[in-house]
């Protein structure tokens, strides 16, 4: 089961200088949780996850609190946390560069394991250095039953 057979070749990507607003729109419109960042020559630069994106707009110390069950709202924080400075970030400010992409010749089983280890919904697939597709947990499901693609 090669990745190339099941991955999606039709995907949206962003450039390193794509602004946050555009990234937000893509997350909203595509419903995806991972966007690849690629350079002009088609090489992969990194990925942006929706979690990393959202985390920018949450106060840092939220990690220190075990649970937010007891909160109703964040009071003054609701007005201040979406600051101008953070809205002006671009893709490369928040992308992850430490993710090893998969090769399209590798197996779907490896893709499933990698996604599980990383806790991600989907991951870029490369051929040579070029970004050629994205494989998701959904694609892995399709591979398991060898169903027809869309």
């Amino acid at each position: 089961m090669e990745i190339s057979k099941y991955m999606k070749r039709d995907f949206r990507n962003v450039a390193p200088h794509t602004p946050m607003r555009e990234i937000a729109r893509l997350f909203f419109e595509t419903g995806e949780s991972v966007l690849p960042v690629s350079n002009e020559d088609g090489t992969l630069s990194g990925i942006i996850t929706i979690d990393d994106f959202i985390l920018i707009f949450l106060p840092d110390y939220i990690d220190l609190i075990r649970s937010v069950d007891f909160l109703h709202d964040f009071g003054a924080l609701e007005r201040s946390s979406f600051s101008i400075e953070e809205r002006l970030l671009v893709a490369e400010d928040l992308m992850r560069e430490d993710i090893t992409p998969l090769e399209e010749t590798e197996s779907v089983m490896k893709a499933a394991a990698a996604l599980h280890k990383l806790g991600l919904q989907r991951i870029p697939v490369i051929s040579g250095q070029k970004l050629v597709g994205m494989i998701s947990l959904g694609d892995v499901c399709r591979a398991i039953y060898d169903m027809e693609g869309r």
Binding site: L64, R66, S67, F70, H72, F74, G75, A76
Partner: protein
């Protein structure tokens, strides 16, 4: 001097130098220093084990186990949210009651755990109120160290002093409790004046936000909470009565920790994983290092020189108080106190010799009662001194770490402006207290 003596002193000085410089973790140095003393036959292995004060180790371990279960219950968050709601969004009232809560919790538990649990909620609430968390965090550092001063288990210097002298938990509460309360009250009143601009009353929107918090949601397991509080209550009662029961504080702490481990049905691996082994091994190494120094006789020599200068108890007490306060403000107070204790033991024995022909046990008790002002001076100086700078105590460092995630992080300079003068004031108050209660009366 014998070569062994020179070697022991060299190892001690070198180890303390590295501990103070903080380039390598203090536990690694203490352990290695202790081992070096054995490897070079300066002390034997059995002597080394003999030097380790297992009363201190047991007390720390027991309390760590108890706290590791207690903190799971959410009781700290519950108190914090309840206090915030009762304050109606008034920032000064929140600061006041958070500080009092921190002081009480630090007196009964350890300071670091207390601030680990209270500081995140404090930051959140301050931000919800649109107030900088800075005044709250400064107040909590001060309150944690002042609260810790009041009891035998509140702060490591007190644990060391209590274990070495045999002074009881009740002795600490009776002698250090009153001055701790005075220092806390004065400190909080001054903070109210100092931060009057930041500490506003809060408007209707803020009151609504605060009122919207639901403290019942933080208690995930009411049964565990009830059991933890019952065990904590019995343990504290045990501490108050340990002298009367003829039990050491370590026995009380381990009994409490052990009982809660069984009654809570908690996972033992997880609980033992939360025991702060670095702290325990630091103490063990330190005991061996100081033990090596004791064996050389250099402490007798130093005690003799000090007593040759003055044998005036008042002067000695005030010197110890101020020296420990200044030292603890800039350096780790645990190694300082660990080294001071055997030195002071010798000074105490020389000041209060056994002239009545009492048997050894009775004489020890009598001597400790006579020497109490010396020990209270050391405890007050070492504990209150921790408030002087941002590196003065572990609780300060923890809060500083949390503050990095806020809009106004604490740093050495901005903390020093408030912490150091308030620390000096607290030591002035402690000096007056010692003079009035112990030194001038006689």
């Amino acid at each position: 001097m014998a070569p062994g003596t020179i070697a022991a002193i060299s190892v001690f000085i070198l180890a303390y130098f590295f501990i103070i410089s903080e380039k390598i973790h203090r536990t690694k140095i203490a352990l290695m220093g202790g081992v070096v003393l054995i490897v070079f036959h300066i002390i034997t292995q059995s002597e080394a084990f003999h030097f380790i004060d297992f009363n201190t180790i047991g007390l720390l371990t027991g309390m760590m186990l108890l706290i590791s279960v207690l903190k799971e219950t959410g009781v700290f968050s519950w108190f914090a949210i309840t206090i915030a709601k009762k304050s109606g969004g008034n920032a000064w009232k929140i600061l006041l009651w958070f500080s009092i809560f921190t002081a009480i919790a630090s007196a009964l538990l350890d300071n670091v755990t207390t601030v680990l649990l209270i500081a995140p909620i404090t930051i959140l609430i301050a931000e919800m109120l649109d107030i900088t968390p800075f005044p709250f965090l400064v107040a909590e550092i001060l309150a944690a160290n002042i609260g810790g001063t009041a009891t035998l288990i509140g702060d490591p210097p007190n644990i060391l002093i209590g274990s070495a002298t045999g002074l009881s938990f009740l002795d600490f509460v009776i002698h250090l409790g009153p001055i701790s309360i005075v220092v806390l009250v004065v400190t909080l009143l001054l903070l109210k004046v100092i931060f009057r601009k930041q500490l506003t009353a809060g408007n209707a929107a803020i009151r609504e936000t605060i009122a919207g918090m639901d403290e019942t949601k933080v208690i995930k397991d009411p049964v565990l909470l009830r059991r933890s509080l019952i065990v904590l209550g019995i343990t504290v009662a045990g501490f108050l009565l340990h002298g009367w029961l003829g039990l050491k504080p370590a026995t009380i702490a381990l009994a409490g920790g052990g009982a809660l481990l069984i009654w809570s049905g908690t996972d033992i691996e997880k609980r033992l994983g939360e025991v702060e082994w670095t702290t325990l091994f630091f103490f063990m190494g330190l005991f061996v290092l100081v033990g090596g120094l004791e064996k050389t006789g250099v402490l007798e020599f130093l005690a003799g020189r000090i007593l040759a200068m003055t044998s005036n108890l008042t002067l000695l007490c005030l010197c110890i108080l101020w020296l420990s306060a200044i030292a603890s403000a800039f350096l780790d107070n645990i190694p300082f106190v660990a080294a001071m204790i055997p030195l002071m033991m010798r000074i105490s024995a020389a000041l209060f010799p056994n002239t009545e022909g009492l048997d050894e046990a009775a004489y020890q008790v009598w001597q400790m009662k006579q020497a109490m002002p010396l020990w209270w001076s050391l405890a007050l100086g070492a504990c209150l001194g921790g408030n002087g700078t941002l590196v003065g105590a572990s609780a300060n460092v923890v809060i500083a770490g949390f503050s990095e995630k806020t809009r106004s992080p604490l740093n050495f300079r901005n903390y020093f402006r408030y912490g150091f003068p308030l620390m000096i004031l607290s030591v002035v108050l402690a000096s007056i207290y010692l003079l009035v209660r112990y030194l001038l009366a006689g």
